[in-house]
Amino acid sequence: MIKINHLYAKALTAVRNISRSLEALKPELNKISDQKQKAEIEIYLDNLCKNFEVTTEIFRTEGTLMGLSIPYKTFLRGPINIRLIALQQSVSSFPGEPTTSELSQANEISEVVLKSIDKLNNFIQKDLDEFNKLLENNGISKIQKPALVTLENR
């Protein structure tokens, strides 16, 4: 669980950094003089952002005070980050064997997190690279690529 938590935290940081970079890029696009080219990049960026949002959905569900602002369906199951923390706390803080429910939840959540991290790494490696090339060709500074989310590169 601790590994999954660690990976989740790294992924969360990476997602926040990418989101900020993508957001900061929008005014930069005004530097492109060719309006046609600018429009194409804007469309590309728009699609990239949508893809990014879908790919990294589980890293965007943040618990707020009492979960009040969480949509109904998310509330019912609990945001994944809260579940992850609660699960680790529940397992590690009680000096007894984990419950069947905890074990199956741990497996399920791990699987979901790892799959999403694969998608995120794929986005960083492939989609961001391609986008950076496009930016470079148009004289716009590349966005900073975060390190891949793995256990090794601490």
């Binding site: 109904y72 509330f75 019912l76 419950t99 429910s101 979901v112």
Partner: protein, 921 residues
């Protein structure tokens, strides 16, 4: 000479008596007094069981008071600021006359006691008004029946009408004339009605005029009078409606209105205010700068607005982000106050307590360390550092502007949702409380100081609901918070394990009710049930779960939506719907399972959950979609069950209660003479007498001696008006325990008389009830005694309770004799000779006799009398030529490891004082 009975042993004491002859004479009078006190009796001859019980039943309150209760309004006599009134939501009004050191209830016996507002007429401070029906609009608020007035500082109250308003948010009294009063009425929370708006009386409440009315869905959630001109008032209209699955907060009806002629005419204020739909609005008018008014407005772009021209124009002073931080749940809070001496300092109350010194641009938190969820604030106009705050955890007082707080912990106003008990000796009681978690405490602290706050143990947090100790291992407790935050806690070390069943990610998430049921099987302490939209069973104490039912609800998707809207979308879990709300397993036959839902289903399985039948359609007269509040499977017949429904969330306050004897194929209503105003939370069947039933309603507790053919109010001598949310009958001790939503836990000790009470009993000239086994507890003071600031719940009277019924008054010297196994009378107690039900307590002690057969003259206290040894005794009462007898077993105090032989020696030594001390004869 100073005498302290605790400080000397028995022999010393007898020496003391022998050497103080004149003192002994005075003692005789004292003895007579104390003996009379030993007999706790309730006089009067009964015409009916109701009259009989009204004069006999005496409940004892055991707390807990650590957390107080949800306090929604505070008012103070400004010229005597040590006199404080607090509206403690579901429990009524409490008064302090010493700056909050001690409190006593002043509004607690009326037809309804839920309070939205309490207001003192500052020009004539003995006049106090109470608006009933809390206005916080939360899912658990109860209804009121109008406004009450006291003209003697809260000693007596008169209902002054407006009964159908049901929830009152504010009462404003004209400064110059206490007969001129304005009432802001929210109206029905759960349905439309026309008795809402602003009402005015000019004759002290004799007559009322509705002076502002918007529509049948819009009430008034705030009302303030301009401090410089009592003809100017501002009213906040609030369109709102609760449904079982959703809270609508806001609509076209919401807005701010102003009158400048005492309510004859009103105009809607708009200039500078946000356009579009508004929600709940809080208002405050400055005392120090006339014309300054603040409005805290729920809106898509919410904020705080300030007017400096009596509301004619407004300017935003607080942005949307700041608003959301300081008023995060507008329907529940939306309370704004302005410092009486500084028009730029404002307070906003919500989950936190916040103050701004710049009209709302920036806020800082004030309530560090005190309970969150704030609803009321009083700011001393002569000393703004003196604050009194009302929140979900009671009342806190500050004298340094909120830097530090003194919590009031002696108001017994806990809001119990569910009860539990264990089998310790004495047994412990558990409860889940509104916003105050789950707690456990003793039914008898064995501490002469009573049951104190320090005797209560915190079990778990959140809103607390079900608490079920393992019947075989009292240190294991299953408890849940809202939406089945289920844990298994080991009280030996306090560590808890989360054991909530979770849906696999491949399936939709489970839906658990706010107040989700859990149950330990009556057949196996390792088999646990809990319920969401499915019923779950664990056979290993919650470590693994099996889903043993399909979705037992209607699974209506239109009722599975965001809990609050349309402006502020919120999901606290309070509105999660299409869930199971009641479960029961037959104590007679394992595997007969019942489930009731919040959306109107009642399901039964006779094969451990393999197959289910929805039997709700067989219930005559039950409105559709009624919320099942409780199911009680009978202790006597497998096919018999009792079920209660609570339809108040559809604006229907009637009780619905039924019995089946054929697994739900047919039902009959057992509502009988239950009051039509008061929905039912719980029904219980006595585990020994199948004709004895109990129900807890929104306004009290009732018993039936004839299996639901008729009902008797069990309020007795001292139970306040309060919602009874849960009832338990301790199967070993036969105590009746009730969990009230507003006044904590109360116990009616030893209800054996109820199990035997019937026409035959009442036809007898004299009836001696079976006597419960008596535990020979040794009580000690286990700590420092406190002054009036501490709460002290009542312990049971120590000893054996001898309960009897007299049809008519008796005369003559009639005594209750206690005989030992040798047939020797060891104690004689006075019999109450007035007609009625009585209970006389024997303290399990006796006065030893000298060898000449005469008793010593001693003070009948524990230090002077001798304890009897555990064993069997006989109680005998001779009336005329008839002798009535009953066995009595005295059980040892389990904390002492005295062998029977040692006990005999102790008792024998007590009887032989004279042999060693011949001078005492």
């Amino acid at each position: 000479m100073r005498f302290s009975p605790e400080s000397i042993n028995k022999v010393d004491f007898i020496h003391f008596i022998s050497g103080n002859f004149y003192f002994c004479h005075r003692l005789i009078l004292l003895i007579i007094l104390i003996i009379s006190l030993l007999s706790i009796s309730y006089p009067q001859f009964p015409e009916k069981p109701q009259d009989l019980l009204d004069k006999f039943i005496t409940w004892r309150n055991i707390g807990p008071a650590v957390m107080g209760g949800r306090t929604v309004d505070i008012d103070v006599v400004e010229r005597q600021p040590w006199i404080i009134y607090a509206a403690v939501g579901p429990s009524g009004v409490w008064k302090s006359e010493n700056n909050g050191i001690s409190w006593y209830p002043v509004f607690f016996k009326e037809t309804t006691v839920s309070v939205g507002d309490v207001t003192v007429a500052q020009s004539s401070p003995n006049i106090v008004w109470v608006g009933t029906g809390e206005a916080t609009a939360r899912n658990s608020v109860t209804v009121g029946d109008g406004v009450y007035k006291s003209t003697d500082g809260g000693k007596t109250w008169t209902n002054m009408g407006l009964k159908e308003t049901r929830h009152i948010s504010r009462i404003v009294i004209s400064r110059g004339d206490p007969n001129v009063v304005y009432v802001a009425a929210m109206g029905h929370l759960w349905g439309p009605n026309s008795e809402r708006g602003v009402y005015k009386t000019i004759d002290g409440g004799k007559t009322w005029t509705k002076i502002l009315y918007i529509n049948e869905n819009t009430g008034i959630c705030d009302l303030v009078m301009d401090p410089s001109d009592s003809q100017i008032l501002y009213a906040a209209a609030y369109e709102h409606r609760r449904r079982p699955y959703k809270m609508v907060s806001g609509g076209p009806g919401s807005g701010i209105y102003k009158t400048t002629d005492g309510g004859l005419t009103w105009k809607k204020l708009t200039k500078g205010l946000p356009e579009g739909v508004m929600g709940r609005i809080g208002l405050a008018a400055s005392r120090s700068k006339p014309g300054v008014v603040y409005a805290l407005i729920e809106h898509q772009n919410p904020g705080i607005w300030r007017s400096e021209d009596f509301g004619e124009t407004w300017k935003r002073t607080c942005d949307s982000k700041t608003y959301k931080n300081v008023n995060n749940r507008p329907f529940y809070y939306s309370q704004i106050y302005v410092d009486p001496n500084d028009d730029k300092t404002i307070y906003v109350l919500s989950t936190g307590l916040y103050v701004s010194n710049d009209m709302g641009q920036k806020f800082r938190g004030l309530g560090g360390g005190i309970h969150p969820d704030h609803h009321a604030l009083w700011i001393d106009p002569t000393n703004p550092l003196h604050l009194i705050d009302g929140n979900d955890g009671g009342i806190d007082i500050s004298y340094d502007g909120g830097k530090t707080w003194l919590p009031v912990t002696n108001i017994d106003a806990a809001e119990v949702y569910q009860l539990g008990y264990d089998f310790s000796v004495p047994y412990r009681v558990y409860c889940g409380l509104q916003d105050n978690g789950c707690w456990g405490g003793p039914s008898n602290s064995l501490d002469s100081r009573g049951i104190l706050n320090e005797h209560w143990e915190f079990i778990s947090g959140g809103d607390g609901f079900f608490v079920r100790p393992d019947p075989k291992n009292s240190f294991i407790v299953y408890c849940n918070s809202q939406n089945n935050g289920l844990t298994r806690k080991d009280l030996r070390h306090g560590q808890a394990k989360s054991i909530r069943p979770e849906a696999p990610l491949s399936e939709p998430p489970y839906r658990f009710n706010w107040n989700a049921p859990i149950m330990i099987s009556p057949h196996d302490n390792q088999t646990i049930y809990c319920a969401g939209n499915f019923l779950f069973q664990s056979k290993d104490g919650g470590y693994s779960w099996e889903k043993i039912s399909p979705d037992l609800t209607t699974n209506d998707k239109t009722k599975q939506v965001d809990g609050v809207g349309p402006i502020t979308v919120e999901n606290s879990g309070a509105e999660v719907h299409c869930t199971i709300t009641a479960i029961s397993e037959s104590p007679v036959k394992p595997g007969i399972l019942w489930c009731g839902t919040d959306d109107g289903n009642l399901q039964v399985s006779q094969d451990g959950g393999k197959t289910w039948v929805n039997v709700v359609k067989n219930i005559p007269g039950l409105p559709k979609e009624s919320w099942c509040s409780r199911i009680e499977a009978s202790h006597f017949e497998a096919g018999t069950a009792y079920v209660a429904f609570d339809n108040h969330r559809n604006d229907d306050y009637a009780p619905y209660i039924y019995k089946t004897s054929d697994f739900g194929k047919t039902w009959k209503s057992i509502r009988a003479n239950l009051p039509s105003f008061g929905w039912i939370h719980v029904i219980r069947e006595h585990p020994v007498n199948k004709n004895l039933l109990f129900v807890g309603t929104e306004f009290g507790i009732y018993a039936s001696l004839d299996c639901g053919l008729s009902w008797i109010n069990l309020k007795g001598i001292n139970l306040p008006t309060v919602a009874v949310h849960d009832i338990a009958i301790h199967p070993r001790d036969n105590d009746l325990i009730i969990g009230t939503h507003g006044r904590g836990i109360w116990i009616l000790d030893d209800i054996g008389f109820l199990t035997e009470l019937g026409p035959d009993t009442l036809d007898s000239d004299f009836y001696l009830f079976k006597i419960r086994n008596a535990q020979s507890f040794q009580v000690a003071s286990r700590g420092e005694t406190f002054g009036s600031f501490g709460f002290s719940g009542k312990n049971p009277i120590n000893g054996a309770g001898i309960t009897y019924f007299l049809k008519k008054d008796l005369s003559g010297d009639i005594r209750i004799k206690i005989l030992d196994q040798a047939g020797e009378t060891i104690v004689e107690l006075p019999l109450d000779k007035k007609a009625g039900l009585h209970r006389t307590y024997w303290n399990l002690q006796f006065v030893p006799k000298a060898s000449d057969g005469k008793k010593y003259l001693v003070i009948p206290t524990m230090t002077a009398m001798c304890n009897v040894i555990p064993g069997d005794y006989l109680v005998s009462i001779k009336i005329g030529d008839k002798e009535y007898q009953s066995n009595l077993r005295v059980l040892p105090d389990p904390r002492f490891e005295l062998l029977p032989e040692a006990q005999k020696k102790t008792a024998s030594a007590g009887r032989r004082f004279d042999q060693n001390q011949p001078s005492l004869r």
